[in-house]
């Protein structure tokens, strides 16, 4: 019952393990098909072969899609990525030089967003998984989270502009960008934290309660330590999501060019995704800066997919251990 109501939130909240975890073994389904019931002959068999080939091809296209994009960017970008490229600021009105300010900016924004979103997200997930009882309030909160996850990124940008930049008078700054991105990553964090809280066996909680601990003591001393690695995995995924977003920081934090590295939370900054966009569409010389565009894309992809791979591998290990 609980699990069914949670599927939507977990999934829609993005990449925090977009496929759900299953307690039961997958063999459950497949062994039936390997039995004699599923044997077919003649025309029906040909239809089956054809159909299943289509399904297989669909899956293959996804793999090819990912491979083509990554390979293409890597192939064209690896020459541009040198040590100087990673450690210098852009020069000659952004037609030469490196992308250090963008890397620093993206890290500031991503890490800042997680620092803000993680405590709120974890606390929300604790309420949803440990305290809340099914009912109208819970349904409303879940609806709120899934709708927040569905808000277009450019609308987050508008919100950040109207609220943080103008209304709270932060101006275009790291702080405004961080808070906007935190709002955007919140559902991701909630989803992944809930998943890891759910994977803590109930016997842990029962044992703790049975020896006289209160609810809060149980959560703090037993549930959270057990769920911590999963929560951190979610944090990495949230970080990668925040680092890759462009639209929310366009109006709130990012600028074409700043000669210096950020010095305070109120500085404007450069960021990798925005840098790619600017160079590719509005740069001083779009064709001449192609190598820079490929190089910047490669650095961004490596950062984002790298973080995701770490999280995926780590999560797979955790799941195995939980079994």
């Amino acid at each position: 019952m609980m699990e069914e109501t949670q599927i939507l939130t977990n999934h829609h909240s993005g990449s925090a393990g977009i496929f759900s975890v299953r307690a039961d073994s997958p063999e459950k389904k497949n062994n039936i098909l390997e039995s004699s019931f599923a044997r077919v002959h003649g025309r029906r068999k040909r239809v089956q072969r054809f159909l299943f080939m289509l399904f297989r091809m669909a899956a293959l296209i996804n793999g090819i899609g990912l491979f083509v994009v990554v390979f293409f960017v890597a192939w064209n970008g690896w020459k541009a990525v040198t040590w100087e490229f990673l450690t210098q600021a852009p020069t000659d009105s952004m037609t030469k030089g490196g992308i250090l300010p963008c890397i620093v900016g993206t890290l500031c924004l991503g890490i800042g967003a997680i620092v803000v979103a993680l405590p709120i997200g974890v606390a929300s997930a604790i309420y949803l998984n440990e305290y809340a009882r099914p009912g109208r309030v819970l349904r409303l909160i879940r609806l709120g989270i899934s709708n927040l996850a569905g808000v277009p990124s450019v609308v987050f940008g508008l919100f950040g502009l109207a609220f943080f930049v103008i209304w709270l008078k932060m101006g275009e700054s790291i702080l405004a960008g961080v808070l906007t991105l935190a709002a955007l990553t919140l559902p991701v964090i909630i989803g992944s934290t809930e998943e890891s809280l759910k994977s803590v066996p109930n016997t842990y909680r029962e044992a703790s309660l049975a020896i006289g601990a209160t609810r809060w003591q149980t959560i703090y001393r037993v549930v959270l330590p057990a769920a911590l690695p999963g929560i951190l995995t979610g944090a990495i995924l949230g970080l990668s999501r925040a680092a890759g977003e462009t639209a929310p920081i366009m109006f709130t934090a990012a600028v074409f060019f700043t000669p210096t590295l950020p010095t305070s939370p109120f500085s404007k900054i450069m960021a990798l995704p925005y840098h790619i966009y600017v160079l590719a569409t509005a740069g001083t010389n779009i064709e001449a800066t192609r190598p820079l565009q490929y190089g910047t894309s490669l650095v961004l992809i490596a950062m984002v997919l790298g973080m995701n791979l770490v999280a995926i591998v780590w999560r797979a290990r955790l799941r195995k251990r939980m079994k």
């Binding site: 939507l8 399904f55 960017v73 984002v304």
Partner: protein, 297 residues
């Protein structure tokens, strides 16, 4: 002693409850600020003039604030991308849930996850430098930055959503149904098409709606590859300017709290309402027609 502990426990509970309300609070604030900055445009144009106005010339004088071409562009791009992403996403889901060997599925799922994690700006960049020249040369058209290219790139982004949610729905069909069908002599594919897919249709519909919601709100891809012409498209290869692209491209040049600025926020309201509608429909379907075993068929 017990009372003190109970009181602490109670206050901790209340604390977590109030933090859990943060998501709703943010959602509410988003609405408040969108409306606050967007509604003033309706002093200049009527609601129907704004939504159904055919001309979007925000910087000419006198300016025209009709976002109908932008709305049509958004819907067209989303529908065309749905035609690509629905078959691809659902078929991949079927493959993962029903056909794939466990080992293969363990590799395929992370691939789909990584696909979901690709930054949209990189996908947009790929569309600009690879797909656009290809389309231009192959079909001999004026520009490769057009509706079709944007739709193609958008399906990149909605396939993972559709795939993961559909896979879940397909997997959760009770085994007894499948066994029953096989026992009656149906083949695996007959069971798939006639039993499993109908049984999981509510989950698949939810997946499709959420995938489309993702596509309509996606910004960088349409900003970079849709072409940017604010006209009602007459063919697949026409350049278009969907709502998110318009907002992202023009906000920098719009004067602060001028009419153009208000109009862009009002476009944001329309976009927000679209995705809100999609999400509420998806939520409704997933709750009302929730799979509760054989009884729901």
């Amino acid at each position: 002693m017990t009372n003190a502990r109970q009181r602490t426990d109670q206050s901790v509970r209340i604390f977590f409850f109030s933090v859990a309300l943060a998501s709703i609070a943010i959602l509410f604030m988003i609405m408040v600020f969108l409306f606050m900055e967007g509604l003033p445009i309706f002093r200049k144009v009527t609601l129907s003039g704004f939504v159904f106005g055919k001309f979007w010339y925000p910087t000419s004088s006198p300016p025209d604030f009709g976002i109908f071409p932008l709305i049509v562009a958004s819907i067209a791009v989303t529908l065309v991308s749905a035609m690509i992403s629905i078959p691809l996403g659902v078929m991949t889901a079927v493959y993962l849930a029903e056909l794939a060997h466990k080992r293969v599925a363990e590799i395929m799922k992370p691939i789909v996850e990584l696909l979901a994690a690709l930054p949209s700006v990189v996908i947009g960049f790929f569309g600009m430098v690879v797909v656009a020249p290809f389309l231009q040369n192959t079909f001999g058209i004026a520009t490769g930055l057009n509706l079709f290219n944007a739709a193609l790139m958008l399906s990149f982004m909605s396939v993972p959503t559709i795939c993961s949610l559909s896979e879940d729905a397909i997997y959760s069909v009770p085994v007894a149904l499948k066994e029953g069908s096989l026992a009656l002599g149906a083949t695996h594919w007959e069971t798939l098409i006639l039993v499993i897919l109908p049984a999981s249709i509510s989950g698949i519909s939810t997946a499709i709606i959420l995938g489309m919601s993702r596509a309509i709100g996606e910004t960088m891809v349409v900003l970079m590859v849709a072409g940017g012409a604010a006209m009602i498209p007459s063919s697949l290869m026409d350049p278009v300017r969907p709502m998110p692209a318009s907002i992202a491209a023009e906000m920098a040049e719009a004067s602060f709290r001028g009419d153009h600025y208000y109009a862009l926020f009002a476009t944001g309201i329309v976009l927000f309402l679209f995705t809100l509608l999609f999400n509420i429909i998806a939520d409704h379907i997933s709750h009302k027609y929730r799979q509760t075993g054989e009884a729901s068929l």
